[in-house]
């Protein structure tokens, strides 16, 4: 007879319990989902639950109103409440650039569809990018959201995106303080108080980098904190925060220029294009001379730069003019091209 391994805890149990302990030991430990996965799923399911609670709360308010109203008013109230019960979510964004990107449409299973420019997106849609893929969205309020490669995010509502993998970049642009967009992650959410920032999920932390303006970060537990322009915050699940500096032209932002919505150059002054390119590259435009500025303001562009990254397009556009660009002290310097 061979010596059997005794189940931990079996020694103190009776013989019947010892048998049961042997069964448990032989079956072994049940597989556990990774902690990072658990946090991400928790965030996604919690968002769904939060929407359910809000919807029921709205419906209760409508019900109270309807009970106090006449039959005619009741009919009116039900008509008005109709959109709240609509099965497919409302369109909350459109795709302005996509490469290696898919969408899983809310409520109709797991099939993923390739995303094309111009597609309308609805609340509940789950977006994903491949390795090397990118996507740029325009939200209804004008906010630009870019999705890095190997990312998954759900458009939970018009003003909430739940990021479960990878990174998002938000450029609220002219909508600025009007935009109420919130980015949810496994253990914190981010709202902007200014204009441009990135949220990235790392193996055990969430990284929030602020290019312009300020953001407010609300961890799942604990107090809210703010990040200013040029700051990078690394926040752990237990709420520990490390702060460091990141320049607006740091290589960390290069992917956002690759994913940038295309600038329609046809008929635009060169100066407007340069302003946009400087914004995307995180470098303010500086003209080396009044003549260079005058040239940029008078030249009208024609054609298209679609399909090119910001840097490629800048080189291509300037090659047709008497100007050139170089990077110096954090700025994009525009000067007269050397003549040979």
């Amino acid at each position: 007879m061979t010596q059997r391994e005794q189940a931990p805890g079996a020694a103190e149990a009776g013989s019947e319990d010892a048998d049961m302990a042997r069964v448990l030991l032989a079956a072994g430990q049940r597989p556990q989902p990774p902690a990072e996965m658990t946090r991400a799923v928790h965030a996604a399911v919690r968002e769904e639950w939060r929407l359910l609670v809000e919807k029921r709360s709205r419906q209760r308010r409508w019900a109270a109103f309807a009970a106090a109203a006449s039959v005619a008013a009741l009919a009116l109230a039900l008509w008005a409440a109709g959109p709240l019960r609509a099965a497919p979510g409302p369109a909350v964004a459109s795709v302005v650039r996509a490469n290696g990107a898919t969408v899983r449409v809310a409520g109709i299973g797991f099939r993923r569809h390739a995303v094309r420019e111009g597609r309308a997106l609805h609340s509940g849609d789950v977006l994903a990018t491949d390795r090397g893929g990118h996507m740029a969205l325009a939200l209804a309020d004008g906010t630009s959201v870019r999705i890095d490669s190997d990312t998954q995010a759900e458009l939970a509502a018009a003003d909430r995106i739940v990021l479960s993998r990878g990174a998002l970049y938000v450029d609220a642009g002219s909508s600025g303080g009007q935009s109420r967009l919130e980015i949810g992650t496994p253990f914190l959410s981010v709202r902007h108080l200014g204009t441009r920032y990135e949220v990235r999920i790392l193996p055990k932390q969430v990284q929030v980098s602020v290019r312009d303006g300020r953001v407010r970060v609300q961890p799942a537990t604990g107090h809210a904190l703010e990040g200013d322009a040029g700051e990078r915050l690394l926040i752990s699940g237990s709420g520990e925060v490390e702060r460091s500096q990141v320049a607006p032209y740091d290589s960390q932002w290069s992917w956002t220029a690759q994913a940038a919505p295309p600038f329609e150059i046809d008929g635009q002054p060169l100066a407007a294009y340069l302003e946009w390119a400087g914004h995307e590259l995180g470098r303010p435009v500086v003209f080396s001379s009044p003549q260079a500025r005058a040239t940029a303001e008078h030249v009208l562009l024609s054609g298209s730069a679609s399909g090119l990254t910001v840097t490629e397009a800048l080189t291509a556009v300037l090659s047709t003019t008497s100007l050139r660009s170089r990077e110096r002290d954090g700025a994009l310097v525009i000067e007269a091209a050397a003549t040979h």
Partner: protein, 207 residues
């Protein structure tokens, strides 16, 4: 062994009322079990199991007001998850050749879900140790969540009653009492599902 349906209905009512703590109790009690439910049915694909479990839980949230407490909450979520698995397999051809698990055999599924004894036969001989070991784990997952965890911590990981109490946020006596109830529930469950006594099941698994 019967899940406390009254307290599950209360949990759902608290969730519908917006109680954040109730949501966390629900999530902590169900996600890992649902992930384990999906994982072997998707050929061990961790990402697929996550996607399906997440989708099933999101759908459960949308349908939560319709939960009547006629079956255990976990059984209800597993039914949603089964449909999600079918949808996932349809959409992802690479999983077409998925395994049919022994706990998906109709007689065992009924036994696990309703704990009515199936026809008696030697499961270990028919399906091998690994599959039967996994079936034991499935039975643990069908117990109330804290029972399965407490038994595993005690008998597989070797934690003391004090440590189990600390993990569950309860005192020594309460942990001891919970373990006693968990042992009874587990014994009844495996003996019903396997149609044999624990000693015989243990011998079969150790063979």
């Amino acid at each position: 062994m019967e899940p406390d349906l009254t307290s599950e209905r209360q949990l759902v009512r608290r969730m519908l009322a917006g109680d954040e703590r109730a949501f966390d109790v629900f999530f902590n009690a169900h996600f890992a079990r649902l992930y384990r439910f999906a994982l072997p049915r998707l050929g061990g694909d961790v990402e697929a199991a996550r996607e399906v479990a997440q989708s099933a839980l999101c759908k459960a949230m949308r349908k939560l007001a319709g939960f009547r407490g006629e079956a255990a909450l976990f059984t209800w979520i597993c039914q949603i998850c089964r449909r999600e698995i079918v949808d996932y397999l349809r959409a992802n051809r690479r999983h077409r050749e998925h395994l049919v698990l022994i706990d998906d055999r109709p007689e065992l599924r009924a036994a696990i879900e309703a704990l009515e004894a199936p026809e008696e036969y030697d499961l270990v001989r028919s399906h091998g140790r690994t599959e039967v070991g996994r079936l034991v784990q499935s039975v643990l997952d069908r117990l109330p969540a804290r029972y399965g965890d407490a038994l595993e911590w005690k008998y597989v990981e070797g934690h003391s009653v004090e440590e189990i109490g600390q993990r569950l946020g309860i005192g020594f006596t309460a942990a001891q009492s919970l373990l006693a109830r968990a042992r009874v529930a587990f014994r009844e469950a495996i003996e019903t599902v396997f149609g044999a006594e624990a000693a015989d099941i243990a011998r079969g698994l150790e063979r």
